[in-house]
């Protein structure tokens, strides 16, 4: 089989966190009874005039700058024409040839290497409404339309076709999400649809300069789905070529349940959007002072924060990457660091136990019961020898469930570590007396036997005995 290379570009839509829609004063609040967050403008009733929400431009500039783009001096809106019931006007107001931001990039980490992925453009547009189908989508003859989401501001971020594997596509989307979240212009929740991603995928024999024919993949509802869908599509296209066929330019939908992509439009009808400048909206001349003001207000971005963690805190690049992936996690980590200045230990707890419990309960770190100060207090209890590392995990889980202070939990449950030699010695004597065979094994040179005996003592003390002391006493007595 010939050696193939995949070429991947992503189009990402992000909903901006404004109070009101892009061209009218209707709320952007998620949910609500169908067709209640609407007004004549977003319903596209005759005679209305859209007026641009200034904060949308501000947020789009903010995102553009965070993605290292150049911000246009002159920009305008265009009408993208197509018939579909999710658009009451039969056109979407978008930007065509003069987008707000262009020529950016983000750096991703892939197998320990940094790779730069180009950003072609960032433009503003309005979201469409939502179609609801009762029963099975394939059999129901009707679509029910809710226009609450119509006119919610979006930015579309188009990458260059710079990615070469599903892993790179995933890393790009992870990084993009982190950057946008840091800027505060969007929640970027894929499950709620505030971040959506389409992928353009093609393959070509390795070494060839021209791109192959691409397919556009839609309907990927999670980061994992993106990676799986792209991997599937690459395999599918290689199979088509290997069998002597040709890849058709088309839109394909990811079928999560079946784990495959399927052709969405049978007709090979080219899109004919007939873009033209929207006469209802006047052009924007972007004030440079405004752009610089927004640039100055940008927070430390994930890449910078990661570098600082490596440089100043001595964390490994991998740990620093994980801790800075969301702003909330990094903020939590740093808050904890204020009361307990050991980055490595805090990092291990945040990436280990904390993230395990958060994932299991599907809880956001911002809503976590354990405050950064409480985590620091618990780590101090470990340092003082009040609790062992093993007991700390129990205390941590209890803190996670109840939000109580670690000292209180240790007191209430009597989890204080036993470091009293006399108390442990009596347990040690009993365990030795109960297990003569194991003691023989140890004396015969089986080092493993010690582990069993330590376990027995720990069990007898309900995990509270100081493990170092237990080890020492057992060895001494044998």
């Amino acid at each position: 089989m010939a050696d193939y290379e995949a070429v991947i570009g992503l189009e990402v839509h992000v909903e901006l966190k404004t109070n009101t829609k892009i061209f009218c004063h209707s709320t952007t609040a998620f949910g609500g009874e169908p067709n209640t967050h609407v007004c004549p403008v977003c319903l596209g009733l005759p005679g209305v005039l859209p007026v641009l929400n200034k904060r949308v431009v501000e947020y789009a500039i903010r995102a553009g700058l965070a993605l290292n783009c150049q911000i246009a001096g002159f920009s305008k809106f265009d009408r993208k024409n197509y018939y579909y019931p999710d658009l009451p006007k039969n056109y979407q107001i978008s930007q065509y040839d003069l987008p707000l931001a262009e020529h950016g990039f983000i750096d991703i980490d892939i197998e320990g290497q940094t790779k730069r992925i180009g950003i072609t453009r960032v433009h503003m547009e309005e979201d469409a409404g939502k179609l609801v189908h009762q029963g099975s989508i394939s059999t129901t003859p009707y679509s029910l339309v809710d226009y609450n989401r119509t006119g919610v501001p979006l930015i579309e971020i188009v990458s260059e076709p710079d990615m070469r594997s599903p892993e790179e596509a995933r890393a790009y989307l992870d990084k993009l999400k982190a950057i946008i979240q840091y800027t505060g212009v969007s929640d970027c929740k894929m499950e709620e649809g505030s971040l959506r991603c389409d992928a353009n995928v093609s393959v070509r024999p390795r070494g060839r300069a021209e791109f192959g024919t691409r397919a556009e993949i839609k309907n990927m509802n999670s980061f994992r789905a993106l990676q799986k869908a792209v991997a599937y599509e690459i395999e599918r296209q290689i199979d088509v070529l290997e069998e002597g066929g040709r890849v058709v330019q088309e839109t394909r939908t990811w079928e999560e349940n079946k784990g495959i992509t399927m052709s969405m439009r049978s007709k090979e009808e080219a899109h004919d959007y007939r873009y033209f400048p929207d006469p209802d909206l006047v052009p924007m001349i972007i004030d440079r002072d405004w752009v610089e003001e927004i640039r100055a207000s940008l927070p430390e971005l994930p890449g910078q924060r990661k570098e600082r963690y490596v440089r100043e805190l001595g964390l490994s690049p991998y740990d620093a990457e994980v801790l800075t992936t969301t702003k909330e996690t990094a903020d939590y980590f740093e808050e904890c660091l204020k009361s307990y200045p050991n980055a490595k230990i805090i990092g291990n707890w945040v990436m280990g136990e904390l993230s395990r419990l958060l994932n299991a309960g599907n809880i956001e770190i911002s809503l976590c019961n354990i405050t950064p100060g409480q985590l620091a207090d618990m780590l101090k209890l470990m340092d003082k020898g009040t609790i062992s590392g093993k007991i700390a995990k129990t205390v941590f889980e209890e803190m996670f469930d109840s939000g109580k202070d670690p000292e209180q939990i240790v007191k209430e449950k009597g989890l204080m570590q036993i470091s009293d030699e006399g108390a442990i010695a009596s347990e040690v004597d009993r365990v030795l007396a109960d297990n003569p065979k194991v003691v023989e094994d140890y004396r015969a040179g089986k080092e493993k036997a010690l582990g069993f005996l330590v376990g027995q003592v720990m069990k007898a003390t309900r995990g509270k005995a100081n493990p170092d002391l237990v080890n020492k006493l057992l060895r001494d007595k044998m």
């Binding site: 209707s26 709320t27 067709n35 641009l52 200034k54 679509s143 029910l144 001349i285």
Partner: protein, 93 residues
């Protein structure tokens, strides 16, 4: 002169169903309009910037402040069909 298939394409984009006679009629009329507009090609526009808007206006913004919504009954007043608060339309996939 526009071809019949170009007329058919434009009709499809506009979701118009045309008879054979209408296609011919529009072929002539649309061609005449385009022919007329072609006069602009005679002008030298080499030094003219593309027009983004005919009015000398720029940067018209509104503040991000919420206003009132249209009440449901009025939203749905012209709906050919409804289901609760939803517009009900033929499914298009």
């Amino acid at each position: 002169m526009l071809t019949i298939s170009e007329v058919e394409h434009v009709a499809l984009l506009g979701r118009l169903e045309l008879t054979g006679e209408e296609k011919k009629l529009y072929q002539e009329q649309l061609s005449a309009i385009l022919e007329y507009a072609k006069k602009l090609d005679d002008l030298d526009t080499g030094d003219v910037l593309p027009t983004a808007h005919v009015l000398p206006l720029k940067n018209v913004f509104r503040q991000d402040e919420a206003g009132s919504h249209l009440e449901s009954e009025r939203v749905l007043a012209n709906a050919p069909e409804r289901d609760g608060n939803f517009f009900k339309v033929p499914k298009i996939v």
